[in-house]
Amino acid sequence: MPKDGGIGASSKRREDLRFLTGRGKYTDDINLQNQTHAYFVRSDVAHGTINSIDTSAAEAMPGVLRVFTAKDFEAVGGIPCGWQITDRHGEVMQEPKHPVLAEGKVRHVGDPIAVVVAETQAQARDAGEALDIDITELPAVIDMRDALKDGATKVHDDLTSNLCYDWGFVEENRDAVDEAIKGAHHVTTLELTNNRLVANPMEPRVAVGDYDFSTDEHTLYTTSQNPHVIRLLMGAFVLGIPEHKLRVVAPDVGGGFGTKIFHYAEEAFCTFAAKEIGRPVKWTSSRSEAFMSDAHGRDHVTKIELALDKDGNFLALRTDTLANMGAYLSTFAPSVPTWLHGTLMAGNYKTPLIYVNVKAVFTNTVPVDAYRGAGRPEATFQLERVVDKAAREMGIDPVELRRKNFITEFPYATPVAVEYDTGDYHATMDKLLEMSDHAGFDTRAAESKKNGKLRGFGISHYIEACGIAPSNLVGQLGARAGLYESATVRVNATGSISVMTGSHSHGQGHETSFAQVVADMIGIDESQIDIVHGDTAKTPMGMGTYGSRSIAVGGSAMVKATEKIINKAKKIAAHLLEASDADIELKDGAFSVAGTDKSVAWGDVTLAAYVPHNYPLEDIEPGLEETAFYDPANFTYPSGGYGCEVEVDPETGKVTVLGFYAADDFGNIVNPMIVEGQVHGGLAQGIGQALLENCAYDAEGQILSGSYMDYAMPRADDLPMFNVDHSCITPCTHNPLGVKGCGEAGAIGSPPALVNAVIDALQRGGHDVTHIDMPLSPDRVWAAMNG
């Protein structure tokens, strides 16, 4: 029986009432009295020297209040990077300055040069167009391989080269891996590109800065996944505003997918300019602007080699990756191809020796950072593609080759420094084969053949790491932030509860699922609980939402705080019931004395806490409010088997996705409906990457797919009905809910399954095709089939 409330219930998303009726309150809905508007003038060349900026014509235009350029920001810091990588030679990465507005040089199309602040958006824009900016275009480096050549144009003159870092992991394994590959019975090699993506959340970025002269307080309203992180980075590193004078609010946010984690120049600008102008300053990104100013995702070029013995046992794995950083280091960019990627290269397999090399490269392109999955999709794509290729080369069934190498004993310490606590990969593989009617594939393939189509089935079996932690470890790895989460549970006098969480919801449904957890623990109705998030003035210092960490880390903090509440409430109940608190039990919203019929209701206990007439004041304080910070002992490790069935039209190369099957192990589930929705969204993005999306640059650094005319977003008719399952459960062993996280899995597991399916279809059709780079557009598939 499905539950109708609490943990495990598919409670309807309470936030959808306002979202679906147009009553959500997004940053762009915030309009402050006396507000002004900012328009960013951006570089239209990829690399150039700024000779002069003549602001006089623009300043004389109607409504213009002020034109800002780099010289207005001489006294403030640059946009900081939140992660420092130490390379394989023990050197720290090259870290260029990232000014708020371009200083002397522009380094990518979209690099902000000047900002006009005017009375209206149209006036600011008109004046921006009247700015006379003289730029001498310089040669640009776009291709990572070119950028690393001797004598290549440097993106930053003050760096020694375009190499940000050369990371080896685990460096001590390097020689042993080389040896193992040299002597192996079989080595499968694959060179591939993980295509550059633009996140494209439905809501573009917006920032509104405000300054109150009476209190000397700054407020920034922004489209962020982590308002406290923005407050810390912008206050401490850019503008020098102490935290008690800086409030950051991230209200309803319409999708983030990673690209709204980072601290952006526009946020610092609006906060800074509001004080300078003495009025609120608002900036709203256009969709065109988003393509050239939101951090992009992926963009790796990799060579991967898998060594096997004659029976198909994996012996060693070696990868060489070039990772595009773009022109500047976005907030968490250096961590994505390293600690979020190299640590996942074991996958589900007991490969004993692994070595990962990553060279991060500066190019004259938009900065690249985390995008749904962040490093883990790149790792999974390489691994699940090379395993599939190895199976085909060795004539072993891809399912059997995976099963032969699955890790089966837990905890399992991988050769890439992480320890999987739990998992059951055979169970998710079994579930996948059952869901997808794998046994009936040949019949379906024959049917397709009759219709002149090629049918294929592809598998991917992924591992991911969520809830990045613990803080002391990530600090050693170069993180310049902690990775705990916080929660304050405030019980009101009549028993209703406000939970202030450091997590941030921008589509994940926390307001519903977090309430379910607290309701379940206390035994009261979910409607009695409100989840408050997204405002540094209301919530305790928290790290926000990314990396599928919310329920595993934020949820755990909330459980810890609620446990403190329950412990205190039991003491109050014991007093009211004249019993020992050790004998008090909480069930269904009532405290009772074990073995008796004496009980007191939740609301009576909470009332006593705030109206402490009959209260043990000498032993416990009045009130019922507790805060907890939770720092996880380990990552969580969701895993799953994904299957994709496709049909390829040999005449046109068009791929049709007929079925997609996801058997995930997310540990315990709080709200199955929300989990299913998260997987659906992830699958749409993963299939989008594999089939449609590509951010293309030309050789001069112009963005060629910079609008929805050329950047193909997945649409409903590109996707099949998804078949998803999460009944395989191995609970996480180190968090109180036993949860693992589900936000990114769909985007991580799906691209290799789709590509494997297309390769399967082509090979069954007699085509000697072993790889096609994503996106698998009809053009690329047809070209691969026709040599």
Binding site: V109, E129, F291, Q702, I703, S705, S707, D710
Partner: protein, 169 residues
């Protein structure tokens, strides 16, 4: 993008050469040209209004004529800034050679590049656009020299001269 082509013009290389270097001719022939001032030696200043796919913009820019070999060849290069629309730049290597019938074969190789919003929104259609621009330019140029296409049965002496040819002959 790059494209090349040629046109056979019913005028002598000397006449074609003069026309090619004339600000008024260029103004009349460059599609969307609003203003064209200057000279072949000093360079021209031009204002051109054009629509590339979804982007309509006024381009202000300079046109230079270099590598001039009178009546034989030259390179025409230009760069226009379209403000928020981005920029367009390009060049044409033009070669003139006499035809047997006394006319001139004008051969051209054109390169064009765009940046900013033009590239972001219009890259897919830029090749077609550049070809259209080049075709229109040389079509108008030919018309300017030869006149409107004559009636097929009109006697040769009644053939309308192009306005430029009337001017120079």
């Amino acid at each position: 993008m790059e494209l090349q082509g040629h046109r056979d013009i019913d005028a002598s290389p000397a006449e074609v050469w003069i026309a090619l270097l004339d600000a008024d001719v260029l103004k009349a022939c460059v599609p969307g040209c609003q203003e064209m001032t200057g000279s072949a030696e000093e360079g021209f200043e031009a204002v051109v209004v054009q629509k590339v796919g979804p982007v309509k913009a006024t381009f202000k820019g300079a046109v230079q004529i270099t590598d001039m070999v009178p009546e034989k060849s030259c390179t025409i290069s230009g760069e226009g800034k379209g403000g928020p629309a981005g920029f367009a730049k390009g060049g044409a290597d033009v070669t003139l050679s006499p035809n047997e019938d006394g006319g001139t074969r004008l051969s051209y190789e054109v390169q064009a590049k765009v940046g900013g919003k033009l590239a972001q929104l219009g890259s897919r259609i830029i090749d077609g656009f550049a070809k259209k621009m080049a075709d229109q330019f040389f079509e108008r140029f030919q018309t300017a020299l030869e006149g409107e296409a004559e009636e097929p049965d009109a006697p040769p002496e009644e053939k309308k001269k192009g306005w430029l040819k009337r001017l120079v002959s």
